[in-house]
């Protein structure tokens, strides 16, 4: 069997070449998928609330359940002050969810399987939490690196550890999302190659790929939820400082 590199499917080739001041902003498959997601999310929400009634239609009920779920998550983790961040959290959750899910459609590209996309989300969340911390608490925000109840002589050891663990947060957020999406699709690619390669019993790996695609959809939801709830926890920690 000829060896293919399964990671070849994640390569991006530009469709329309564009350059802005020497930076390559050409349109490729990931960009088109992001445009599709940006059009799809407002369409779904507008369709859900069009002709809204007291007894909701199914789509309206679905969006109401998800918005209420996110609202409870924001209030639990960030308190009442956190409702200022509610639009940001909802946008983050639905954008990540749809970017994860759109890769399941055959022939499309999973936007969040590029580490630059997930790193951008994670760095945005990190910068927002730091700015919120300094804006609300001023310079006293730096006390967050000294946990309460620590004896004075251990503080010079604890503070660098806390700084490193705070810097590890955007790294872990981005790598978790990127690696989950890439690993899931790589397994599917390898199994499909196996199903095509076997002569008579190729349907057996194929059934397994059906089950794995179901798992992929589930992992897409879980990863979007995890990213959002960790964002709520990090920003809530900056707001309340404990």
């Amino acid at each position: 069997m000829k060896q293919h590199n399964p990671l070849e499917h994640f390569e991006l080739h530009p469709l329309i070449e564009l350059k802005l001041l020497g930076i390559d902003i050409s349109v490729n498959k990931a960009v088109i998928m992001m445009w599709i997601v940006c059009i799809l999310i407002p369409c779904i929400f507008v369709l859900a609330v069009r002709g809204r009634r007291m007894i909701p239609t199914r789509l309206q009920s679905l969006t109401e359940i998800s918005i209420e779920f996110l609202r409870n998550m924001v209030i639990d983790n960030m308190g009442e002050k956190g409702l200022k961040f509610f639009p940001f959290i909802v946008t983050l959750f639905f954008f990540i969810l749809f970017c994860n899910l759109i890769g399941i459609v055959p022939g499309s590209y999973t936007v969040t399987s590029q580490i630059i996309v997930t790193a951008f989300f994670a760095i945005t969340v990190f910068i927002i939490s730091q700015i919120v911390g300094f804006a609300i608490h001023g310079v006293r925000y730096l006390k967050i690196f000294v946990p309460s109840g620590v004896p004075k002589f251990i503080i010079p050891i604890i503070v660098p550890i806390e700084i490193v663990s705070m810097l590890a947060r955007p790294l872990s957020l981005s790598v978790r999302l990127f690696a989950n999406m890439t690993a899931g699709h790589t397994i599917l690619i390898v199994l499909f190659t196996l199903a095509l390669g076997l002569k008579y019993i190729g349907f057996l790996p194929f059934f397994f790929t059906v089950a794995l695609t179901g798992l992929e959809i589930f992992i897409a939801f879980i990863q979007a939820y995890i990213f959002t709830i960790l964002t709520c926890v990090y920003i809530g920690e900056a707001i309340e400082m404990h």
């Binding site: 990671l7 872990s172 790598v175 978790r176 690696a179 989950n180 690993a183 995890i226 709830i229």
Partner: protein, 79 residues
């Protein structure tokens, strides 16, 4: 040793680290089943923490996978 051979062995060794994640996920779900068996009303609250814990444990396995990909991408890695 050939650098390609060393890279391939390194990728295989990175995959051994997934064993810890397997133990961790099994432990989380085992505890969840046990706690639901003891008190079925607690399922909703404990279930929420179970999914968060599962995602964080699985992330560790995927950090190992990322290291395998990094080794694969280095010079002489792909064989």
């Amino acid at each position: 040793m050939d650098s390609t051979a060393a890279a391939l062995i390194g990728m295989g060794l990175a995959a051994v680290g997934f064993a810890g994640s397997g133990v961790g996920i099994g432990y989380i779900f085992g505890k969840m089943i046990e706690s639901v068996a003891r008190q079925p009303e607690a399922e909703a609250k404990v279930g929420k923490y179970m999914w968060i814990g599962f995602a964080l444990v699985e992330a560790i396995a995927l950090y190992g996978l990322v290291i395998a990909f990094i080794i694969m991408g280095m010079k002489g890695g792909e064989g």
